[in-house]
């Protein structure tokens, strides 16, 4: 058993280093960095280039990559991105860092080229020296990993807690404004924090590359496992994060001393260990009432912030074209344009339009759960995947009419959605995000992408469209009709009593409570509805593609969906439609008219779009509306001014943008 214990510690140390570094970054910056794996890969790639390709010594390559390039990368990213995230919502912080994680690896690959073989070396010389401890072999790379753990622990505890620098960093997280008043430059401290964070990411990347392989896609799942340790640590406790990381490794490994590694129990138990850690921790947090998000920024920060209220609310109040609300007019025009597409597109482009519209249906679930419900669920794509399986089972295997199966079948997921809602309702936003992401990953591993009756060698189960909508043109109209029905439902929900209650809860849970609004009821209602819509979207996606596509429902793909949606606007139903269309039409343009060497560009653009959320968290739709308002205000003031003299226009932080807004105006978020 001792041998398995050490084996578990070896694997656990990978999770622990990643978890520890992420916790330090979070504690020091207030940002949970989803781009950590991408940054780790980038620096590890630099190390590989210097050491393996150019033959530098290990020491020289490590010093330059980890201690020079990594801090510079951190400082650069701070200047370009992270500085805009201070004071931003959890959702915006997550999506912006997600955008970075999408965009950074292709950029690094453009610089250094892609690797055909991702086998990598660590910091120890080859051949690796092997130490024998209690009959177990520990190689020099693993010893380096343990050393890194100690380093991370020291950095996180001693420096952050007991030094002047640490005090300034913590003060900055607590209140940037007050820190500034005390003579400390918040920007300098923040830049330093991100430089150190990038250094930790680089160190982690170089250390785990021999195990994960030198690829972002190899490092990302490993980091995702570390999320469980971070949740256990309540996002803040470095020693607990490290212990939990080690614990996950040990609990995964030690039982293998007794169980059959080829048995069903092992197949289900081992991938579930991180989720089990998470659930036990959440149970404890729920009992002890400790699962809220830590608040960053003090009262002074909030008071002087130019932003205010709900950043996702579009400031389109009063914008009209003729007598009609401008969003309503523009949305109608947009829908008409989409409806015309099949008339001018050929069958291929109509097919792409159909792909986009059915994706738009699934994206409306984010509009509901995140935009309206204010809950940061990252497992909506898993509900969509389950919807695809349901329609396949009911229509292909059980003989139901496909459309009936697609509409009725997804009802099955509603209890699952309510269960997820119940389990996460008391958690802070970041907990919800991490828990739902992990749950989605587990669902993908054990159900949606597993080798079961619907898998069929990865090709999936055939799903037919309704016979009367077999061609792309008719299917576009069917999908558009379904989209519009759901979209109207979302809009009506927003205007209904339930929707107003949700808005109140999203604005202030405590305030809503004082009004007698049941937070539980409101959130469970939107949870159930959003889960159904996601599964409905998945069913229509499966009918569109003609298969369940078992490997296409990875929650990391769902993050990309959400990032693009956020770029346009998480509360706009039209943003959901546009996001879906862009997701397929833009790559179609590249596939058809541009060189294939530019094929990664759409991915980079989608990533950079999400990065831009840092400076425009309201999304492109609301941003454009704000600009139109500002221009109109300026023109009106010009007209009103005597003699036509120019009067400075009010800043964008006028009351219309900074005060809480009532949400009953027609078509605001259309």
């Amino acid at each position: 058993m001792l041998a398995y214990l050490f084996a578990g510690l070896a694997t656990g140390s990978l999770y622990a280093v990643a978890a520890g570094s992420l916790v330090i970054t979070y504690v020091a910056s207030g940002v949970f960095n989803l781009a950590f794996a991408a940054m780790a890969y980038s620096i590890a790639r630099v190390y590989y280039e210097l050491h393996v390709v150019h033959g530098w010594s290990i020491l020289a390559a490590a010093v330059v990559s980890i201690l020079v390039v990594a801090p510079l990368l951190g400082a650069l990213l701070y200047a370009l991105l992270f500085r805009f995230l201070q004071g931003g919502s959890t959702l915006v912080k997550l999506m912006a860092t997600l955008g970075l994680s999408v965009a950074l690896p292709p950029i690094v690959d453009l610089i250094f080229g892609k690797l055909a073989d991702v086998t990598a070396v660590g910091l120890a010389p080859i051949p690796l020296h092997v130490f024998h401890v209690f009959g177990s072999a520990i190689n020099a790379d693993q010893m380096m990993m343990y050393g890194a753990l100690v380093l991370v622990l020291l950095l996180g505890t001693v420096v952050l807690r007991f030094t002047d620098i640490g005090l300034r960093v913590r003060a900055l997280v607590d209140s940037g404004a007050l820190t500034s008043l005390s003579g400390t430059s918040p920007s300098q401290v923040s830049m330093g924090v991100w430089a150190v964070s990038a250094t930790l990411a680089g160190l982690t990347g170089v250390l785990i590359a021999p195990t994960s392989g030198l690829s972002a896609s190899g490092m990302t799942p490993l980091m995702a496992t570390a999320f469980a340790a971070i949740v256990v640590a309540r996002l803040r406790s470095l020693p607990i994060a490290i212990l939990a990381g080690l614990g996950i490794g040990v609990v995964s490994a030690v039982p293998q001393n007794w169980i059959d590694p080829n048995g069903t129990f092992a197949e289900y138990f081992i991938p579930s260990v991180p989720m089990l850690f998470m659930l036990v921790a959440l149970l404890i947090f729920a009992i002890t009432n400790q699962a809220g998000d830590a608040q960053s920024g003090g009262a002074l920060d909030k008071a002087i912030s130019v932003d205010g209220g709900d950043s996702s609310v579009a400031p389109s109040h009063g914008l009209t074209i003729g007598k009609l609300p401008m969003p309503l007019v523009l949305s109608t025009v947009f829908v008409v344009v989409v409806a015309i597409l099949p008339q001018v597109f050929n069958v291929y482009w109509s097919g792409l339009a159909a792909h986009g519209i059915v994706l738009g249906i699934a994206l409306l679930s984010y509009t509901l759960v995140t935009g309206e419900g204010g809950m940061l669920w990252l497992c909506q794509i898993s509900f969509a995947g389950i919807g695809a399986i349901i329609v396949a089972e009911l229509s292909t295997n059980q003989g139901w009419d496909p459309l009936v199966a697609a509409v009725v079948g997804p009802i099955i997921v509603i209890p699952i959605g309510i269960l997820v809602g119940v389990l996460t309702i008391r958690l802070g936003e970041l907990y919800v995000a991490l828990v739902t992401l992990s749950a989605g990953l587990l669902a993908q591993t054990l159900l949606i992408g597993a080798d079961n009756r619907w898998y069929n060698w990865g090709s999936g189960t055939i799903v037919s469209r309704p016979s009367w909508a077999a061609d792309n043109k008719t299917y576009v109209y069917l999908a558009l009709a379904v989209f519009l029905v759901i979209a109207l439902l979302v809009i009506n929900l927003r205007r209904s009593t339930a929707g107003l209650a949700l808005g109140a809860v999203r604005w202030s849970e405590n305030g809503a409570k004082t009004l007698g609004i049941s937070i539980l009821q409101s959130k469970l209602f939107v949870s159930a509805l959003a889960s159904y819509v996601a599964a409905l979207g998945g069913a229509f996606i499966a009918m569109d593609w003609g298969t369940t596509k078992p490997e296409s429902w990875n929650p990391f793909n769902g993050l990309v969906w959400l990032a693009i949606l956020m770029t346009l606007g998480s509360r706009s139903v039209m943003a959901a439609l546009l996001t879906g269309l862009m997701y397929y039409l833009v790559p179609g343009i590249f596939q058809t008219w541009l060189p294939h060497s530019l094929g990664d560009v759409p991915t980079v653009l989608f990533g950079l779009g999400a990065v831009a959320l840092a400076s425009h968290p309201e999304g492109a739709f609301a941003q454009n509306a704000a600009q139109i308002m500002a221009r109109r205000a300026k023109r009106a003031e010009k007209r009103a001014a005597p003699g036509g003299s120019s009067v400075p226009a009010p800043a964008l932080s006028a009351p219309a943008l900074t005060q809480p807004r009532e949400e009953s105006s027609v078509g605001r978020h259309v």
């Binding site: 041998a3 055909a116 073989d117 190899g218 291929y348 061609d471 003609g546 039409l585 790559p587 596939q591």
Partner: protein, 410 residues
């Protein structure tokens, strides 16, 4: 910049409306010219972007090089006009499906030559859509999907498909010849990886080798190798067989070797090629590993491999002569198409080309394949052959100048 997102989207859609209207037909039946006896339009499906695209990116050039070599040598059907449409499946099954739809619906190709690990994403579409199922698909075959086992469709993988239900004596015979008595086998919990390991396990047992450790429940993408290593150590295995990806397989192998395990034979079914030699860490970690390949290795220097090396040098600028995976598979896939065209007659329609290939039993890509390809049957063959090469230093040393063949285990 201010209106960029919205403006770009609207502009894109407007541009599409203007430029994507080559046909307003909406029938799903707008496929390629299945009765075309004139110039053939051939869609090339492979990965040019995505995580593993570096392995596949030269595939298209290799397919075109095969055709160029054929026309330069005045092959029997060299006068048939052939044009190629390059496509990128983005290294994802969804990308493969999207590309197949583009080929069929927009490009209206007559034939598709695929050499991708993602074809399974498009297989349902290519065998069920009314237009797509008239378009023959040649090449590839290193993924697995149901289409490969159905003789009624027009999908012809260049490499013989296996259902993984039949074991063959070959791996067991090889391990036994090396003195292996206990073997450890590792695979992912996906059908093809686990199936390949199951095949090997049948072979080991048939050869009297004890399967001391078998684990085909590894989650794809998992890096939890330490406990697996411990399982191997505990089992006392002296042979190692794995269908894991090479980087993960090497991590397991390295751990086992560091723990003091002495293997008499180590076999990876994939990984042979200059891509491995280009990675110094992989070369160091792969010493003594035996790789299987269904294609004659360059290091044998047979007439077929020398001819391939010369052609790649002439048409693709490959100076080392050692063909990459993409070059080899692209060449073979192109050769399959040429062979089918010759069999059917030089003015044959795509449907006739497919029908002719379906009756064929003797294509071996000019001697490159370890055994002739029998297109008349999709059942597991009675015999399975592959070449084995072992990495020693920076050379792949063939275990034999002939392929290792094994008979089906009843």
């Amino acid at each position: 910049m201010r209106h960029k997102a919205a403006a770009t989207a609207v502009a894109s859609i407007a541009a599409l409306a203007l430029t994507a209207c080559g046909s307003s037909s909406t029938s799903a039946g707008d496929g390629g010219g299945s009765s075309n006896t004139g110039p053939l339009k051939v869609g090339l499906m492979y990965s040019q972007t995505g995580p593993s695209s570096e392995t596949f990116k030269e595939t298209g050039k290799a397919i075109e090089a095969r055709w160029k070599a054929y026309t330069d040598s005045n092959g029997k059907c060299a006068s048939r006009q052939v044009s190629f449409v390059d496509g990128d499946d983005t290294n994802t099954p969804e990308g493969a499906l999207s590309l197949a739809q583009k080929f069929v619906q927009q490009d209206k190709v007559d034939v598709i030559i695929q050499s991708t690990a993602e074809f399974y994403g498009a297989s349902q579409y290519m065998t069920t859509d009314p237009a797509a199922k008239k378009v023959p698909v040649f090449g590839g075959g290193y993924d697995t999907n149901a289409a490969y086992f159905d003789k009624s469709n027009l999908v012809f993988p260049a490499l013989a498909p296996t259902s993984y239900k039949t074991g063959y004596t070959q791996p067991g015979d090889f391990f036994k010849s090396k003195g292996v008595t206990k073997v450890a086998g590792i695979a992912y919990n996906v059908a093809s990886s686990a199936g390949a390991l199951d095949q090997a396990v049948k072979s080991f047992k048939n050869s009297g080798i004890d399967v001391a450790y078998q684990n085909d429940k590894i989650d794809y993408g998992s890096k939890d190798v330490a406990a697996i290593v411990q399982g191997i150590v505990k089992s006392g295995a002296d042979g190692f067989y794995t269908t894991l990806n090479p980087d993960t397989a090497l991590a397991v192998l390295g751990g086992a070797l560091q723990a003091g395990v002495k293997f008499k034979a180590i076999e990876f079914p994939i990984g042979y090629g200059p891509e491995l030699l280009a990675s110094q860490p992989a070369v160091q970690a792969s010493q003594g590993v035996t790789f299987g390949t269904g294609v004659a290795p360059y290091d044998l220097h047979t007439p077929a491999t020398d001819a391939l090396a010369a052609a790649l040098k002439k048409y693709m600028g490959n100076t080392s002569g050692l063909p990459t995976f993409a070059q080899t598979q692209g060449w073979i896939s192109g050769d399959e198409f040429i062979y089918a065209l010759e069999k059917a007659g030089c003015d044959a329609t795509p449907t006739q080309i497919a029908a002719a290939l379906r009756k064929s039993t003797d294509w071996d890509a000019g001697g490159l394949l370890a055994q002739p390809r029998d297109f008349t049957s999709t059942a597991d063959p009675k015999e399975s052959c592959s070449y084995l090469v072992t990495l020693k230093g920076t050379d792949f040393v063939p275990e034999s100048n002939k392929p290792f063949c094994g008979t089906a285990i009843s």
